[in-house]
């Protein structure tokens, strides 16, 4: 049963990556039309345009272009940047390292905070505290990151001067300085994720509080504190794990905005810069690497969930 589930899940991840690769290829190599013209601008000499098109290999048939692009990508050759005239791989690896630091700070803050918010809301269900956490959480979730980012910069960076408004730390700065510079950029991501995590934790808690095993635990005379810690929390927080992993996709989108706003050289600002300057090999490689990372993250989360949750592991997963 579990082997079939895993095989099915891996097959789905492969389909996703194939669709993504076709989408990326289609958007970056087919739809823009004349690539050299797009790079050189409309006033370029037609002969130079032809030479550049030939040099870039974009005058070959589409199927040939796709297969040669995807085979070299799988062999580790991610292509050469149009703008930097150098292999894109080092740029992407460095940018991903930066983004991982920012994402880690955000995750380390939001996971405990979101779970706490959800648990407190569930223990006060339908009372004012629950309404405040729920409505506040959803409102924070739909607030665009650049909006909360601007307000946070103004309050903590410009008026109170507690935190630096740029994420770029001085050369050779230690871990603490780096984290200090990343607190403000991480906050908009924390705000958006808080609502999702709190809502899942709240729903899980309410279901667990309402269950027969909780009633049994109460009726056999355990203290309320012990019931919560030993019986409710353990069951309630399982779905929250998956939500945290699936939010990796949102996080990547959020990074594009946050890194642009705070001038942080991560993968989000790399994608944004590549899209603006029509550096298609850079854009393609960065998007594919992110897609693979994301597919792996959700795959691991689903497998972890199925291992932790016997109902999914043994039940008929359709």
């Amino acid at each position: 049963m579990i082997a079939r589930f895993i095989a099915r899940r891996i097959a789905l991840a492969l389909v996703t990556l194939f669709v993504l690769s076709v989408l990326v290829f289609f958007c970056c190599q087919v739809l823009p039309g004349n690539v050299a013209l797009a790079i050189l601008g409309p006033q370029a000499d037609p002969r130079t345009v032809n030479v550049l098109n030939h040099e870039l290999g974009v005058d070959r048939p589409l199927l040939v272009q796709y297969s040669s692009w995807i085979t070299s990508f799988l062999q580790g050759d991610m292509g050469r940047s149009y703008i930097y005239r150098a292999p894109v791989a080092p740029f992407i690896l460095q940018a991903i390292g930066h983004s991982l630091k920012l994402a880690s700070v955000a995750i380390l803050v939001v996971v405990p905070l979101g779970i706490l918010g959800g648990v407190v809301a569930a223990l006060n269900v339908h009372r004012p505290l629950d309404r405040i956490i729920s409505i506040g959480g959803v409102s924070a979730t739909i607030l665009p990151e650049f909006v909360s980012g601007i307000v946070l910069i103004l309050v903590f960076g410009v008026w109170l001067r507690w935190l630096p408004i740029s994420a770029a730390w001085p050369q050779g700065a230690g871990v603490f300085t780096q984290v200090y510079h990343l607190i403000l950029p991480a906050m908009p991501l924390v705000l958006v994720l808080f609502g999702y995590i709190a809502r899942m934790a709240r729903a899980g808690m309410i279901e667990a509080l309402d269950s027969d095993y909780t009633r049994t635990a109460v009726l056999k005379g355990l203290t309320w504190r012990l019931v919560i810690w030993r019986h409710v929390l353990r069951n309630a927080l399982l779905p929250t794990i998956t939500v945290i992993a699936t939010q990796a996709g949102y996080l990547i989108g959020g990074l594009v905005v946050v890194e642009t706003l705070f001038r942080y050289e991560g993968v989000g600002s790399l994608i944004f810069a590549a899209a603006t300057s029509k550096d298609f090999p850079m854009l393609e490689a960065a998007v594919l690497v992110i897609g693979i990372t994301y597919a792996l993250a959700t795959l691991i989360a689903d497998l972890l969930y199925s291992i932790l949750n016997p109902r999914i592991r043994m039940g008929s997963y359709k």
Binding site: L12, A13, V15, T16, F18, V19, L20, L23, V24, F26, C27, C28, V30, L31, P32, I135, V138, S139, I142, L143, P144, E145, F146, V147, S148, I150, V151, I153, L154, G157, V158, W159, I165, G249, Y250, I252, G253, G254, V256, V257, T260, L261, I271, F272, A275, T276, K278, L283, V287, I290, G291, Y294, A295, T298
Partner: protein
């Protein structure tokens, strides 16, 4: 004494409306949206200055009696721009949501009603699409198609529509097992008739709630695309665009050039959220 309720459509509607008017969040949200809708429709007529008129001599002036929200680096009146800036986002985001609702409803009805191979093919494609971060899809599409209001509407409409089709599909799946659908099948009604005349009216409440919520996300998406330069273009007084052109000066203390636009976006998304929350509560009750 016992009451016997007969659940006629009109009594159900009255119940929903009564619940809506008792709901504090719904009324506050509606008031905020009504305010911005009036600004979008008639703002141009009652603002003190032309939102596009430049006055370089008075550039970057702080809030004052003449310019309530100050002026930007071209000397344009920010109060007038914030009021007028509601127009573009309040046109593009609802249009994108309407497109998404149509796509989501049709796709959800088709996949839910026919199941089988139609459902399998669409479901796998939609799952793959949902596994790709939305901003990345939007960025790729806009790089490929170029920036215009039409592209933004299409990209958001398609992207949200496929997500919405999942909600519609699950509603159709439970609905199609009910007797009235069996009755319609026995009357030899066409599939189109059953989907759109029989099933659709019964699954409108979840569609309505989902669309209202999606307006909030559409505003999130439009504002974000404008902020990163892939949405509305200058000299539109759009809020996201204004923040994007002015935030570089934030370290210099020119807070009024970005704060009011940020608060405008915040009030709009929170208003829509409160309204959706109230609607959900009333339709669920």
């Amino acid at each position: 004494m016992t009451h016997v309720y007969i659940d006629t459509p009109s009594s159900r509607h009255q119940e929903v409306f009564a619940a809506l008017f008792r709901s504090g969040p719904f009324l506050i949200g509606t008031a905020i949206i009504f305010f911005w809708a009036v600004c979008a429709a008639f703002g141009q007529q009652f603002v003190p200055y032309d939102p596009l008129a430049q006055d370089i001599l008075n550039a970057l002036g702080p809030p004052s009696a003449e310019h309530w929200f100050g002026t930007d680096q071209l000397g344009r009146d920010i109060f007038s721009r914030v009021i007028a800036g509601s127009r573009d986002i309040l046109t593009v985001a609802p249009l994108a949501t309407i497109l998404a609702t149509i796509i989501g409803t049709v796709l959800g009805l088709l996949t839910g009603y026919f199941r089988g191979i139609v459902d399998d093919v669409f479901s796998r494609l939609i799952e793959a699409k949902m596994a790709i971060p939305g901003v990345i899809v939007a960025l790729l599409a806009i790089v490929a198609l170029g920036t215009s209001e039409m592209t933004v509407i299409l990209v958001i409409g398609l992207s949200f529509g496929t997500n919405m089709s999942r909600t519609v599909r699950s509603a159709v799946l439970s609905e199609r097992e009910l007797e009235y659908v069996a009755a319609a099948t026995l009357r030899r009604e066409s599939a189109v008739h059953i989907m759109f005349v029989e099933i659709l009216p019964n699954i409108l409440p979840p569609i309505l709630v989902e669309s209202t919520m999606r307006v909030g996300y559409a505003i999130f998406a439009v504002a974000t695309l404008s902020f990163i330069g892939f949405g509305l273009q200058p000299p539109s007084p759009d809020w996201g665009l204004s923040i994007s052109t002015n935030y570089a000066m934030i370290g210099g203390g020119y807070w009024w050039t970005v704060l009011f636009d940020a608060l405008a976006i915040a009030s709009l998304v929170i208003g829509i959220n409160l309204m959706a929350d109230g609607l959900y509560g009333a339709l669920d009750a």
